[in-house]
Symmetry: none
Subunit: 210 residues, 4 copies
DNA sequence: GATGAATGAGCCTTCATTCAT
DNA sequence: GATGAATGAAGGCTCATTCAT
């Protein structure tokens, strides 16, 4: 029993070791230029060993996606704990996502990668974990909206649906950053992004009574 | 005289022939699995010939992206010509983008690909053409908004900024389709998408006076 | 007759135009990275036209070799015209070759290239011209030696043989420049080169009588 | 224990196998026409395997250069062991280099190739090995000169500098073999070469006293 | 004389994955 | 459990040369 636990712990340690190497390379060279052989060398393990712990290269990066979602989750969670109004929380969430996309560019890229890639069959356990992480984030955002609705600040919208819509909009707008110099013709992307976030939040608000 | 023109026309025909082969493969196997060698074989041309007409693989796919934008442009343009109210036009635009992303999935993927890929240096002419295409679409959407503002139906927003935001939001939401079975937990993606579009449009509207 | 001459003159002009383009590219990108297609584009001619005037890529660079030899020839010729003693002339010749190898690096490389490449069958006329150029240089050097012998400054050596030996030694020593940082272990290549030239000249001199 | 050693030995064997294939092709088709794919086919290995043992094509040829230097080194070493006078040893060295350039033409070509090619960045270990090999040869030649100086046969020259000069001269003169039929106009290259070697050695000698 | 489209073999290199030890 | 040698298909791309117009 103790043995089994130790085994388990060692196994986890190895996986972390591999992930650390993959992360390091991801940050240095991007997802496309990171090969399993490099990961193995960096992790000081044989390639075969990598394959013992992970089914494929995809799976490793999938795990890294989880890390990225975790980082974002913690940011939103912090925002949630603050004693600010719901609309401010949503606004902060928007700002946080844009910041995340530039400060944690590699993690954002990986999320993007999996969003744009036809689903690969992966160990369902890992996949579920990722999905749960996404759901958690959605719940946090949904919570902000629910709070706003309860307080009477927001209209009676479906919090979950609105949260999805909110995040989806954030995501697309973030991607448009790339168009700043061309299609957006000099419009400052950050301004537009913030403007858009504000619009989305305003759209939520109850029309002022008088 | 006529000779030069004929040459020009034949050259255009070759480019179309190559593009047709690339398109066919793109639709069959996706962007990642389509290689220049395959395109050459499909087009029944030597690899060198491909490179005579296109500088690189990227350039071919860039041209394909242009096609995709064109298709979407024409849809929006048609919506614009209809004698409907501005809010209806925006709604239709949203519907059209979701439809485009599923019916012209490969074109959507290619747009996504370039949105997620670090910019490559390409012959500026082609690049400018693409950018212009994107701008045209933005102008159409902006036109709908401007009309709404003029009519007093919408608030006094900056049409261009709002158009960018609108399209950006549509784009991100479209990508979330992939999460339908997992994170969205049974929420129907299309419903959410339409709901989101409606919200965005409602947010635009002047608060009802009374 | 006049027509024929004009034709001839135009033909020469075209060849010069091609050579100019090739030279420009040679200087910019080196011999290995210069392709016929690039030469054609630079010369604003069709590739076919290039092949009308030159049998092959090799032939073009062969012509360029001639230019290089010409440049070197003129330097030695100038040295010959100076009113200096034969030993000084040889010394200057050595210095000139080393200078030539660095200041006209591309021409030197081309000479090297043809010296190291298994002979290609080329238009014999061109080949003869090149050979004549080489012989001229050898004659100049041989002349210096002959003068020294006549004056009693040098031993009774065979001027031609010694000239060949002199140039050959210069050539090999010049190539050893590349070893400066490694095999030569900090010995300054230029010093060694000059030292060697001096030795070769000293070896020529009559042992001092007394 | 024995396992690790066996592995090591097998690995060495593979490298030799690859080198053998490369050597065979080099001798048959020359350096320019020998490709990695051919080497792999000849070695009956996958291309990937070649790259597992060698970083690049250059590295393989670099190894071959080492072989060539080794062969020449052993010849000079043998000359050094003989009980002959220093001037005879230098004379033999000259003869040996000319012989080497014709009997081991491919090895000579490869040395030439690296002397004429802009330095490539290679695994420093191999590069250092090559450089050391070159230095060893230089040391042997320098030793002959030093001995001659000690014996009072040669003037008080710097042995190392003179060795570099000697080898450099040999190298260049060897290359002029190619000009035998043209520029040298019937002068027998071998005669000139030997004549030159003799001159170089005579130049070293102390002027006879009387 | 001049053109330039077309070729296609060939280049070097990468890399996810397997499997015998 | 761990290793790492071996694979080989596939990748994007170059280029000297030809030939119909």
């Amino acid at each position: 029993m103790g043995l089994k636990e130790r085994r388990e712990r060692e196994k986890e340690a190895r996986k972390r070791q591999i992930l650390a190497a993959a992360r390091k390379l991801l940050f240095k060279k991007g997802i496309q230029s990171t090969s399993i052989n490099q990961i193995a060398r960096t992790a000081e393990l044989g390639v075969g060993t990598i394959y013992f712990y992970y089914q494929s290269k995809e799976e490793i990066f999938y795990s890294l996606q989880e890390e990225g979602l975790d980082i974002f989750f913690r940011e939103i969670d912090a925002i949630g704990r603050a004693k600010t109004a719901p609309d401010a929380k949503l606004r902060e969430t928007g700002r946080a996502y844009l910041r995340f996309s530039s400060e944690q560019k590699d993690y954002f890229d990986i999320i993007n990668y999996f969003l744009a890639t036809p689903t690969v069959i992966l160990g369902s356990e890992l996949k579920q974990q990722i999905d749960r992480k996404g759901s958690h984030i959605l719940e946090l955002i949904g919570g902000f909206i629910r709070a706003g609705v309860s307080e009477g600040m927001f209209r009676e919208v479906d919090p979950k649906k609105y949260a999805i819509m909110f995040w989806g909009a954030l995501h697309g707008l973030t991607q448009f950053k790339k168009l700043e110099d061309t299609v957006l013709e000099g419009e400052n992307h950050q301004h537009i992004f913030n403007y858009a976030v504000d619009q989305l939040i305003d759209g939520l608000k109850r029309p002022k009574e008088h």
